[in-house]
């Protein structure tokens, strides 16, 4: 059981999808129920991972290894470390919520819809757990197709444009990434005489700097477009605005993390020298900062509720990448946390947009106002979501942002100084959005009779809010989970980072923090 846990997690959605395909497409009710059951099962089977995971244990856990394509040296090799664990749990939960959220939202081609979601779910899980580059790439590409359909079939007015733009954009990036992968693969062959895609094997490579740089840029295109980092972000708003609620939920909460995850899992460990190369680090940090401020500025003037949230993602993901490329423990750990937080809070924001959209079928901010009068419970939940997104302490956002800032500050004080502007602006656009939509008087008669959240809708938010508070109030477990993998990455890129005594575990080395400490 234990040694196949990951496979079970991976294949449960697929199995669910196959069964779903066998159901009669007339009987939508049955299909809905089954899809939700399958998704819930997918979440439940992933829970044991949390309890059986040994935080602090080096390397990967729940590793499964099977020969798959010997003639290519590709294996079915999966396993997780702290980073993957968190993102995996996020995926399974959000996946379930996404399916739950579309109970009423989707009325036509229900069967295909849910099938696509389950397929998507499996693909994303695969991305986060595969330790074989070939396998990773397969999943990476698999994810695109269902997303294309979700946007393109169930999307808004400009869905065709958005869908194909999303697909082409990300595809272009990832095929170039493929070239990078193949280069590593071949270099490994020339150095060790056998072909393999196994990451741990590829990490043994030592490449000349210039080649590392080339490969790095190849990876960069693949990952940065996914994240999306600053110049490559334009597919995001379109995709988000056109996608159905559940689609944008998945897209924002999980799929964007695939890019940042890629940076941490592949770019940094496989190309350490390129990753610490000053020009590259500078460029990426600057791009991240531009993303932070730029995203915030742009979302400030959005008249479209959903577009605003979409651009806010650009800003938040800027924090994540900044954390990654400050290349120190706190930066990286904070980045992972922030990815989690963004998944939670932005997920909530998109659900919120979706809920009003279901009622009013418009996303223009001007259409709303004073909703707090008619939908008080909704207003409260929106407020919490907004605060967690704005990084208010005791909610998740603060922990991530502050840790990232700490890391960035250590790497380069100017970065932190600029990034802080993002926090100010973040509060600005979110509070302003809240004021324009929730507060004030009901200016639009149509909004007078809006129903407050139903039980199902409330149930969507409960886990997310609970999670947000947990991270905000007691984040220690997360840092415990992240300490080991982050340490490994840092030691890979900055061999001398930790004193010879090895990574100073949790307690400060010789800092003055011990003078007169404690109670």
């Amino acid at each position: 059981m234990d040694q196949h846990l990951l496979s079970i997690v991976l294949f449960t959605p697929l199995a669910g999808m196959l069964v779903l395909l066998c159901l009669p497409s007339r009987n939508t009710h049955l299909i809905r129920i089954w899809a939700n059951v399958a998704a819930l099962a997918g979440f439940l089977v992933s829970l044991p991972l949390v309890f059986r995971f040994h935080s602090g244990a080096p390397g990967f856990q729940f590793v499964e290894r099977a020969e798959w394509i010997p003639s290519l040296g590709a294996r079915y090799l999966i396993g997780i470390d702290g980073i993957s664990l968190l993102l995996l749990m996020l995926t399974t939960l959000i996946g379930f919520l996404a399916i739950l959220s579309s109970w009423n939202a989707v009325q036509d081609r229900v069967k295909e819809y849910y099938a696509m979601f389950l397929l998507l779910q499996a693909g994303m899980i695969g991305v986060f757990i595969s330790l074989d580059f070939f396998l990773f790439y397969i999943f990476w590409e698999v994810v695109l197709v269902p997303m294309y359909f979700i946007i393109g079939v169930w999307g808004g007015p400009r869905k065709l444009y958005a869908a194909i733009k999303f697909f082409l954009y990300t595809l272009a990036g990832s095929v170039l990434m493929l070239l990078g992968i193949l280069t590593l693969y071949f270099q490994h062959f020339t150095q060790f005489g056998f072909y393999t895609f196994e990451i741990s094997e590829l990490m043994k490579l030592n490449l000349p700097l210039h080649m590392q740089q080339w490969v790095f840029w190849a990876f960069f295109l693949g990952f940065a477009i996914k994240v999306p980092m600053f110049p490559f972000h334009t597919w995001l708003p379109d995709a988000h605005v056109e996608a159905p609620t559940a689609g944008s939920l998945i897209l924002a909460s999980v799929m964007l993390k695939m890019g940042t995850y890629g940076f941490m899992r592949f770019s940094l460990p496989l190309l350490p020298r390129a990753s610490v190369d000053q020009t590259i680090v500078q460029i990426l940090a600057v791009l991240s900062i531009i993303g932070i401020i730029y995203g915030a500025l742009v979302s400030l003037v959005q008249q479209n509720w959903k577009r605003l949230v979409a651009y806010s993602s650009v800003s938040h993901l800027g924090f994540c990448t900044l954390g990654i490329f400050s290349l120190n423990p706190n930066g990286l750990a904070g980045s992972v946390l922030q990815q989690l937080n963004h998944g939670i809070s932005t997920g909530m924001l998109f659900l919120i947009v979706g809920i009003v959209y279901e009622r009013r079928h418009t996303r223009a901010i001007a259409e709303y106002g004073g909703l707090a009068h008619v939908m008080p419970r909704f207003a409260v939940i929106f407020a919490i979501a907004m605060l967690s997104s704005a990084g208010l302490p005791l909610l998740n956002g603060f922990i991530g942002e502050f840790t990232i800032l700490q890391g960035a500050f250590e790497a380069n004080r100017a970065w932190a100084a600029f990034a802080v502007v993002g926090i100010i602006l973040g509060a600005a656009y979110l509070f302003w959005l809240y004021q324009r939509t929730m507060l004030g008087q009901v200016t639009n008669r149509k909004n007078l009779l809006l129903a407050d959240l139903s039980f199902r809708e409330t149930a969507l938010f409960v886990p997310l809010i609970a999670w947000a508070f947990w991270i905000g109030i007691y984040p220690k477990p997360y840092f415990d989970v992240l300490r080991q993998p982050v340490t490994e990455i840092v030691e890979r890129v900055h061999p001398g980072y930790y004193p010879a005594s090895g990574p100073a575990h949790s307690q400060t080395g010789i800092s003055i923090a011990q003078i007169g400490g404690g109670r």
Binding site: S25, W68, I69, P70, S71, L72, R109, E112, Y137, I138, E141, V142, L144, V145, Y148, F149, G152, V153, K159, L160, I164, F167, L168, L171, A172, V175, L176, L178, L179, L182, T183, Y185, F186
Partner: protein
């Protein structure tokens, strides 16, 4: 047997004999036994038998080679050589011919041109391909080529009542004959160089030549024109769109898969045989042609509205990818070509079969518009089409990805980084026009509701190619091994 015709000779051509035999059988039985068009579908039995025996013979050849530990078996004083290479390609021909034959009858009945000759020609054409894949003598290859080509000329024009079919046939014939004239000219020069028509002798003679030899160039150019024409590489590709569009869709499928595979085999025989020693001379040329082919194929496909024409251009671009494998030229590259041909067979056949299903009594069903709302009418077909298109574009986990994978890897191994980047970027372009079809299938609403013209054969064939496209994508190991091992020459 006589000294002219030894048992070995016999053994080397049994498959061809089977094909020829059953081909003639079909022609005979057609008007002796099945006078009425209704019954003609029973001719499929002969086709099936013929392919069955061919397969059996191929299998025996394979087994014999394996048992005897030989890499090749030469017959007819070197006119024909049975080796892994040839056998591999012949398997592909068998599959292609079977699938095409099986789906054809319904289509031809609808088109009102259901004649026994059709099946006869399929088989005879395949016997020609056999010699393209196995022939090692200029004459054998030439005749084999002509045999195949003639059959295709006729099949392309098989809808005699249809202007477009006639036109396609005529264009194909004129250009084909024209290019094979050049080919023959090149062969003649090769003969002049070597004084023999055996590929081995020619290879030896050319290898003995000085580095810069105008006569070799003369042979090289004229020959490669003929060869590149057959695989529809730019700028010799222009027949393909017209022929593909005008021909009966089933024939188009056969043409785009079997004929292309055979021509690739032929091309490899020549370029890795006689011309191997002058690689430096032709590699840049082929690289340029490959690029041009990719560009033309992908760009022109974007603005197509006729699905067969679109697929024609896409198959042109695929030829470009295969050529890139030849440019890389290392084992990976050649294996890559084999893998590419393998996966290409299934995905391209599949795509065309869906188009076949769209041909209904009064609907030509070749326009992208005709795909509108297919997802509602028959989700299964739509889904399969998506799989085929994804595979054609080379998105994992479909088979198509492996072909591209090998090609890219080969290019990187041989440091053709520029080619690699361009080739990869064209994947994105390809997605664009393939997904025009997907879009119209899934997103647009259906205009007419006439049910698809599906038949048992069609469903069977579609199922097979669909499953294989996925299986090869997800668990490619056995297929890869088959392809790779068959190509160590």
């Amino acid at each position: 047997m006589s000294q002219w015709y030894t048992s070995t000779d016999h053994f080397t051509i049994i498959p061809a004999i089977m094909l020829a035999l059953f081909g003639c059988a079909v022609l005979l039985f057609d008007f002796l036994v099945f006078p009425s068009p209704r019954q003609r579908k029973w001719l499929l039995i002969f086709v099936a038998l013929g392919e069955g025996f061919t397969g059996l013979a191929l299998y025996r050849q394979q087994a014999f080679l394996a048992a005897a530990g030989l890499t090749e078996l030469v017959g007819f004083h070197g006119s024909v050589t049975v080796d892994g290479f040839g056998i591999f390609f012949n398997w592909i021909f068998v599959v292609a011919a079977l699938i095409v034959a099986v789906v054809s009858y319904r289509y031809l009945e609808i088109a009102g041109e259901h004649h026994g000759e059709y099946y006869g020609l399929i088989l005879l054409a395949q016997s020609g391909m056999y010699f393209l894949a196995t022939g090692t003598d200029l004459v054998t290859l030439f005749i084999g080529l002509e045999l195949m080509a003639l059959c295709f000329y006729v099949m392309v024009g098989f809808l005699r009542g249809d202007k477009r079919s006639n036109e396609a046939a005529l264009k194909y014939l004129l250009l084909g004959a024209f290019s094979s004239g050049f080919l023959a000219y090149g062969f003649s020069v090769m003969y002049g160089i070597a004084g023999s028509t055996r590929l081995s002798d020619v290879a030896a003679a050319i290898a003995a030549r000085p580095a810069w030899d105008p006569v070799v160039f003369l042979a090289l150019v004229t020959t490669s024109v003929g060869l590149l024409f057959k695989i529809s590489a730019a700028p010799f590709h222009m027949w393909a769109p017209d022929a593909y569009e005008g021909a009966p869709t089933t024939v188009t499928a056969y043409l785009s898969v079997a004929s292309k595979a055979a021509s690739i085999a032929f091309l490899l025989r020549i370029f890795l045989g006689p011309l191997a020693s002058v690689r430096v001379a032709w590699e840049p040329l082929i690289a340029a042609v490959a690029l041009a082919t990719l560009t033309i194929g992908n760009l022109a496909a974007i603005s197509q509205t006729n699905i067969k024409r679109l697929l024609a251009y896409s198959s042109i671009s695929h030829a470009g990818y295969m050529l890139l494998g030849l440019v890389a030229g290392n084992d990976t590259g050649i294996a890559g070509i084999a893998v590419y041909v393998l996966v290409y067979t299934f995905m391209n056949l599949g795509a065309f079969l869906v188009v076949v299903a769209l041909r209904r009594a009064n609907i030509i069903g070749e326009d992208i518009e005709d795909f509108a709302g297919l997802a509602h009418k028959s989700p299964a077909y739509a889904t399969l089409m998506v799989i085929f298109l994804l595979s054609l574009a080379g998105i994992p986990p479909t088979a198509g990805f492996l072909g591209k994978y090998y090609i890219f890897l080969a290019l990187i191994q041989t440091q053709h980084y520029f080619l690699a980047v361009v080739a990869t970027l064209y994947v994105a372009v390809a997605i664009y026009y393939y997904f025009k079809i997907v879009r119209s299938m899934f997103i647009q609403e259906a205009k007419e509701t006439a049910p698809l013209a599906s038949s048992f054969g069609l469903r069977l064939a579609l199922g097979v190619s669909g499953v294989l496209t996925l299986v090869i994508g997800i668990y490619p190991e056995p297929f890869l091994r088959m392809a790779v091992t068959s190509l160590v020459r």
